[in-house]
């Protein structure tokens, strides 16, 4: 049995592990992929206080090493379900069971720090073409398309950053957005306008992905319903992120967007269950707010056991 179970080994989860481990608690972190979370795809972090330049990978590696050194255990297993153990309250103690693909773990406190994942366009062959021309990470895959024509779809800062990044690599970048103006930072839009090889395609949606074995073209449909085919080697999808909370829908209250409802105390609607990091309802999703949540949740969870 553990004192604290943390689901997700991203920035919030590992920070929670540090705080709970330093409170002398027996802590396990469960992660379905690799540790580090979303930050590992960021080339250079420039807004983390007192750390003017660090790569996302270095940040994640140091954070992981710190948590492990303090005694937190980490298991790479996907979590399937979390449930309250009935009857445990009678001994005046809450207890939860976390079931993974391989094992079961018990603790009186569980921190949900599962973050979010890339939103899909929802096109019929999108899955099949992922890794064959459709990508959700421009800084990961952009360099593969050196000198080729590519498209970015989205209207927020991620789409704008991706376009800027790709304009230095690809021959031409089409930036496709379903509205007539961007949600992202106007300063970024101005920067992009200085790049001759970027073409803005506004009021337009991607409606089909075409190709034999890999992506060859995409079908665009504008607001008047007019269709057009665009030949590109890659489509970078940057239409936002969606919280990874499907497994917890019956456990804690979620908002309309699927985020876990909790204020700065990280307390969810279920006593004993905490939410930390991007998965929680909040106005700013950044490294520094993820570490802050990790500290609050780790500390509160440690007090429960």
């Amino acid at each position: 049995m553990y004192d604290v179970i943390i689901i997700g080994a991203g920035t919030a989860g590992l920070t929670a592990a540090i705080y709970a481990a330093r409170a002398n608690k027996k802590v396990i972190v469960l992660e379905g992929k690799t540790y580090g979370g979303q930050i590992i795809t960021t080339f250079n972090i420039e807004n983390y206080p007192a750390t003017p330049h660090i790569s996302g990978v270095d940040f994640a590696k140091q954070l992981y090493a710190q948590a492990v050194e303090l005694g937190a255990e980490v298991e790479f297993e996907e979590v399937l379900a979390v449930k309250k153990i009935e009857g445990a309250e009678e001994s005046s103690r809450l207890m939860f069971e976390v079931e993974t693909e391989d094992d079961k773990y018990e603790a009186p406190a569980v921190i949900l720090a599962t973050g979010s994942e890339d939103k899909r366009l929802g096109l019929k062959n999108e899955e099949e073409f992922t890794g064959r021309g459709v990508s959700y990470c421009a800084t990961c895959d952009g360099a593969i398309y050196k000198g080729e024509e590519v498209a970015v779809v989205g209207g927020g800062n991620t789409a704008l950053y991706d376009t800027l990044y790709l304009s230095d690599v690809a021959k031409k970048v089409y930036l496709i957005h379903r509205r007539d103006e961007f949600r992202g930072d106007p300063a970024l839009v101005d920067k992009i306008k200085k790049h001759d090889n970027v073409e803005f395609v506004m009021d337009t949606q991607v409606t089909e992905i075409k190709g034999e074995k890999k992506l060859e073209s995409i079908e665009l449909t504008n607001k008047n319903g007019e269709k057009k085919e665009l030949k590109v080697s890659a489509l970078f999808v940057a239409i936002g992120r969606t919280p990874a909370t499907a497994a917890f829908a019956n456990l804690v209250e979620l908002d309309d967007g699927g985020y876990i409802v909790a204020d700065e105390s990280c307390l969810t609607s279920t006593p004993g269950i905490f939410a930390a990091g991007d998965v929680r309802t909040k106005s700013l999703r950044q490294l520094v707010t993820a570490t802050a949540d990790g500290a609050v949740a780790g500390n509160a969870a440690a007090e429960l056991s």
């Binding site: 992929k33 690799t34 391989d102 890794g131 064959r132 990961c140 895959d141 593969i144 074995k213």
Partner: protein
């Protein structure tokens, strides 16, 4: 065993003609998730008993990357008896990689 450095010269012998299944990691040094995966891939190679683990640097070996249509990395392809039996893109656990080879983790 350590991770085998694969290139267009040794790929046929080490992978396609291998008597054991082979897990191939297509990567590049500028890719964050690839860097996160490299210790996992090394560990997998070290503990491997019934399969081999190799890696292809897609910048040096663009012909191999093109041949296997790798356009998102890290990309893991499992080969058995000279053909692809599984493929998975992105950072993932060691257990998932072993399952890709059709084995029990």
């Amino acid at each position: 065993m350590s991770v085998i450095e694969l290139n267009s010269e040794n790929f046929e012998n080490e992978v396609l003609k291998s008597s054991e299944p082979v897990l191939v990691d297509f990567w590049a040094d500028w890719c964050g998730p690839c860097q996160m995966m490299s210790p996992i891939v090394e560990e997998l190679a070290k503990d491997a008993k019934y399969f081999k683990v190799g890696e292809v640097n897609i910048d040096d070996e663009d012909i191999l990357a093109e041949k296997y249509e790798v356009s998102s990395i890290p990309c893991f392809i499992a080969f058995k008896d000279g053909r692809e039996i599984g493929r998975s893109v992105g950072a993932q656990s060691k257990k998932k990689l072993i399952k890709l080879l059709g084995m029990e983790a």
